[in-house]
């Protein structure tokens, strides 16, 4: 099992990444390797650097030291390089961030048309396919503000998928949702995972982590303090901070 996963190509690699916000050391020597088809869940207390870490992967945040490689290409500050990497890396945000002035369908077709130069009709066909995949095709011609939070987040997932990314980053995708809407989003994410999408998810949904993750990474104070398969992570955590955190999130 271990040998098999090591055969797969490395998709994303962080090597001793450091980041500071002024005096605040936000990421401390973060190293992480994600292979093709792997599902990695990152968890940890708020302010531990989870979101910052994945936002560095597509350069929404800039790291100051260390290396980040996406499919073997190092992330540098040149515009061409950043745009190339962003085409390959899809992202879903806590606040959905749909474009409010565009319909659902237009939200999905904008990037394929502008960035990949796909013809309008072809882009729309593809968009409808992905909307069907997230079970929301009937809402294609509505504006985002007409949809519920769960529906908006599923549109956001479909929008990222329309660029046919190699990797999907999820930044607390269910944290802004009402409880009854969390499951519809998680189900879509589970379907994606079962289709062997490479995924990095920052989330507090421990049930999701247990079910789909290949590995769970625990971050605290800007460092990765524990990294293990879900069974070992949840049942035999080694680090004291991990134990404390798990005790808190699983108590309720």
């Amino acid at each position: 099992m271990e040998a098999e996963s090591n055969d797969r190509a490395v998709m994303i690699e962080l090597r001793n990444v450091n980041k500071w916000y002024g005096q605040f050391h936000a990421l401390k020597d973060v190293s992480l390797t994600v292979r093709k088809g792997e599902r990695v869940v990152i968890c940890g207390p708020s302010g531990s650097g989870k979101s910052t870490a994945i936002r560095c992967i597509n350069r929404l945040e800039q790291h100051q030291d260390g290396q980040i490689l996406v499919e073997g290409v190092e992330l540098r500050s040149s515009l061409k390089n950043i745009e190339h990497i962003r085409r390959e890396v899809g992202m879903v945000f806590q606040q959905f961030n749909l474009f409010p002035h565009l319909t659902v369908l237009q939200n999905l077709t904008l990037a394929p048309r502008r960035v990949r130069h796909v013809a309008k009709q072809q882009a729309e066909e593809m968009a409808m396919e992905y909307l069907a995949r997230v079970h929301i095709a009937e809402q294609a011609h509505k504006y985002p503000s007409r949809l519920s939070g769960g529906q908006q987040q599923r549109v956001a997932i479909a929008r990222a998928l329309c660029m046919e990314p190699q990797v999907m980053l999820f930044d607390e995708p269910t944290s802004a949702l009402d409880p009854e809407m969390i499951n519809e989003v998680l189900e879509v994410m589970i379907e994606l995972a079962e289709a062997h999408m490479t995924m990095i998810c920052v989330t507090h949904e421990m049930g999701f982590a247990r079910r789909v993750a290949d590995r769970v990474v625990f971050m605290d104070k800007g460092q990765i303090v524990e990294e293990a398969p879900p069974a070992a992570f949840f049942d035999n955590p080694t680090n004291e901070r991990t134990k404390l955190f798990l005790g808190q999130v699983q108590k309720h």
């Binding site: 597509n58 929404l60 515009l79 745009e83 962003r86 085409r87 890396v89 899809g90 992202m91 945000f93 606040q95 961030n97 749909l98 474009f99 409010p100 002035h101 904008l110 990037a111 502008r114 960035v115 504006y143 503000s145 956001a156 929008r159 990222a160 660029m163």
Partner: protein, 216 residues
């Protein structure tokens, strides 16, 4: 003193009002283009564009428009460029409008949530497409009211061009008033004409705002 029938006074003033409208239109169009260029500097790379915008805006907001007008009218000839009153007023008002519109529109762009930049950037859109397809259409919606508000100010500010001898509405009023010795009547009509020009603008702004807010 000259006896002039009311119809003649009106005709003369309305002829002057044409130039007021032209000058306002030139300043608004020129100022709009200038402001867009300043904004591209501000939000593009490198970041030094932001400081330039700040300096430019401070300079033009911190000095009287009349003085800017004098500097262009008397300054350009020193550089060997011969300027007519229309050109001087057009250039000065364009520079002035660029500063104010850039500042108004910057506020509207800054009001767009950061998540919109994140999401469009993460999808691989370059800066130009982010601006054109995501940020500006949303900023436009909130920019309508303050932009039209400024346009009415600009229209009234063209009155200053009368001081460098440009024969627009206010100057026409001075001439007629001096000829007829009826300042109250003449300036009263001048004021009414300014109002008649500005009122439709604010009326259109209200319509446009309602239309834009429906489309979401």
């Amino acid at each position: 003193m000259v006896e002039l029938p009311l119809a003649n006074i009106l005709t003369y003033l309305l002829l002057g009002a044409r130039w007021t409208l032209l000058l306002a239109a030139v300043a608004f169009a020129g100022g709009g283009i200038g402001a867009l260029l300043l904004l591209l500097l501000r939000y593009g790379r490198p970041k030094s564009g932001g400081r330039f915008l700040h300096l430019y805006v401070e300079l033009f907001q911190g000095t009287p428009l009349l003085l800017q007008l004098f500097l262009v009218f008397f300054g350009l000839p020193l550089l060997g460029i011969d300027v007519s009153p229309l050109l001087a007023a057009g250039v000065a008002l364009t520079l002035y409008a660029s500063a104010f519109l850039a500042e108004i529109w910057r506020g509207c762009v800054d009001a767009i949530p950061k998540g919109q930049w994140d999401a469009s950037g993460a999808l691989g859109l370059n800066f130009f497409n982010q601006m054109r397809d995501v940020i500006l259409p949303q900023a436009l919606r909130i920019a309508v009211a303050p932009t039209v508000g400024f346009l009415t100010q600009l229209l009234k500010a063209t009155a200053l061009a009368s001081i460098v001898g440009f024969e627009e509405l206010t100057k026409a009023g001075q001439i007629v008033s001096n000829a007829t010795f009826q300042p109250m009547l003449v300036y009263g009509i001048v004021a009414l004409i300014y109002f008649a020009l500005c009122y439709p603008l604010t009326f259109c702004a209200r319509l446009l705002e309602r239309k834009l807010s429906q489309s979401r």
